[in-house]
């Protein structure tokens, strides 16, 4: 346990000391929330009402967590530091947990910041906000697993392209955060529904409204995606570790 925690502590420091983490991970969702609230104040749009917008932004922010963890893992794979650590008593599970666990508090912190800002901007406080912050753990599990998978399977350059561009765009456009996905037609709607992004946003929205019945199917969908991606990610990580 101590060995794993030492490695996890290092992962946390490496991520937090990267200025991009603060800028994109925490700053960008805040700017989006402020900007869209400003639009809402001048041209009211249902979609940009805080109780619909905040859950969406909170989930969207998680795509940056995937990017940060994937970048760190792929960078480590190319460095001699990981070679050195492979010769220590650290086990495969220590490496996997050491990469995954530090990202969880970052996801929670991001959600707290978004909801606190929404309260400042005028959202009514309710106990459901606390549940929504806690429920972010389910989408976080999926996004963190995706980070482990991308970091284990891709080079640093590929991670920048796939996670930095493709994932953030998928997470932005196919999640129903900024506009109703129905507007894109039946085919795109079906495609979006097959992916976990829209379900993650709807899960958070339902929890914020206190509608556990509506939340449940989305929870199952996101959790199933998370488990499948995590199993694949662990398999790919172990294979890479053996190859090293």
């Amino acid at each position: 346990m101590r060995k794993m925690l030492s490695f996890a502590n290092r992962t946390m420091k490496e991520i937090l000391r990267d200025p991009l983490t603060m800028a994109f991970g925490l700053g960008f969702p805040v700017i989006l929330l402020l900007l869209l609230s400003l639009i809402q104040a001048n041209i009211p749009v249902d979609m940009f009402e805080l109780h619909r917008l905040t859950p969406g932004i909170t989930v969207f922010g998680l795509s940056f967590m995937t990017l940060f963890s994937a970048q760190l893992i792929s960078k480590d794979r190319n460095s001699s530091l990981l070679t050195r650590l492979y010769t220590t008593p650290l086990k495969a599970t220590d490496f996997i947990l050491g990469y995954l666990l530090p990202v969880i508090p970052l996801c929670i912190a991001q959600a707290v910041i978004c909801y606190v800002l929404s309260l400042i901007l005028g959202m009514q406080f309710s106990v459901n906000i606390i549940w929504a912050v806690l429920m972010i753990l389910i989408p976080s599990f999926f996004y963190i697993a995706l980070g482990l998978l991308c970091g284990s399977a891709m080079t640093e350059k590929q991670v920048g392209g796939i996670c930095g561009a493709l994932l953030t765009n998928l997470s932005a456009w196919l999640s129903g955060i900024w506009f109703d996905i129905d507007m894109l037609g039946k085919a795109v709607k079906s495609f979006a529904n097959a992916l976990p992004f829209i379900h993650a946003v709807e899960l958070e929205r339902a929890v914020l409204l206190g509608d556990s019945r509506a939340a449940f199917p989305h929870l199952i969908w996101v959790l199933a995606y998370g488990i499948v991606i995590m199993v694949i990610a662990v398999f790919v990580f172990l294979r890479q570790m053996k190859r090293q």
């Binding site: 490695f7 290092r10 001699s80 220590t88 008593p89």
Partner: protein
């Protein structure tokens, strides 16, 4: 004197290439043994197998009696490696890098702080203890890298090209550090620099194409080849095959 390392018919195949071919070698406890060879000779693959990073295709090696093939977890407790490139966590300070190595070896906080303080003193890192590793010069990074390897008090230390890319002064300082380590543990050093092997090591093994061509002290190898300069002896050995 007892053997620290006993290598028996160690072999590694990569697809159609045999990187290390039936290597037999014994290294004595407390000895500084240098592995010399041109690129692709099999030095790094040998080190990787001995450090349990790469599994051998066949054969085995015993490190203080523990098998790399069947007892890798135990081997990892008694070895340490300073890899070819500088292996430090770039965004962590010098002190944090040392603490990280203590932690991954399972030391508690008190012991970690004691050992970190000790290594900072021994490697004269006090002036830069709070500096991020990425901001250090190549020489200081290499020195930190070796301090990180030593913090777990290994019985066997692997130094893979420790002075590669360093300037003359940084290399000389690192040689002093390695000299101070001699006798305290068994050290296996790989290098491209002839003078480094001659200056630092008790015995030298020359490798080519995965084979060990010759083993002996620098003086013995010069005598075997009839050369006065060690570099010429090495060239003669590698060009001429086994002696």
């Amino acid at each position: 004197m007892k053997n620290a390392i006993e290598i028996r018919k160690l072999t590694k195949d990569y697809k159609d290439i045999r990187a290390v071919d039936n290597l037999d070698l014994e290294i004595r406890e407390g000895e500084l043994f240098a592995l010399l060879g041109v690129n692709g000779a099999g030095k790094t693959t040998t080190i990787k197998m001995l450090c349990c990073i790469t599994q051998p295709t066949s054969g085995d090696a015993l490190l203080n009696g523990k098998s790399i093939a069947s007892d890798a977890d135990e081997v990892k407790k008694i070895i340490a490696v300073s890899p070819q490139e500088t292996a430090v966590a770039p965004n962590l300070s010098v002190e944090e890098n040392l603490m990280l190595m203590c932690g991954v070896h399972g030391m508690d906080n008190r012991k970690s702080q004691e050992k970190t303080k000790e290594m900072i003193g021994e490697f004269k890192l006090d002036r830069i203890r709070g500096k991020k590793a990425s901001k250090l010069s190549g020489g200081w990074q290499r020195r930190l890298s070796i301090a990180m390897a030593l913090i777990s008090e290994p019985q066997i230390l692997f130094l893979d090209e420790p002075t590669l890319g360093l300037d003359v002064i940084a290399r000389s300082e690192l040689w002093d550090t390695i000299r101070e380590l001699k006798g305290r543990m068994t050290i296996i050093l790989t290098t491209h620099y002839m003078e480094e092997a001659e200056e630092l090591s008790d015995r030298i093994g020359v490798m080519r194409d995965g084979h060990l061509l010759a083993v002996g002290t620098a003086a013995e190898l010069k005598e075997k080849t009839g050369e006065e300069k060690f570099e010429n002896a090495f060239i003669k050995l590698v060009k001429g095959g086994a002696v």
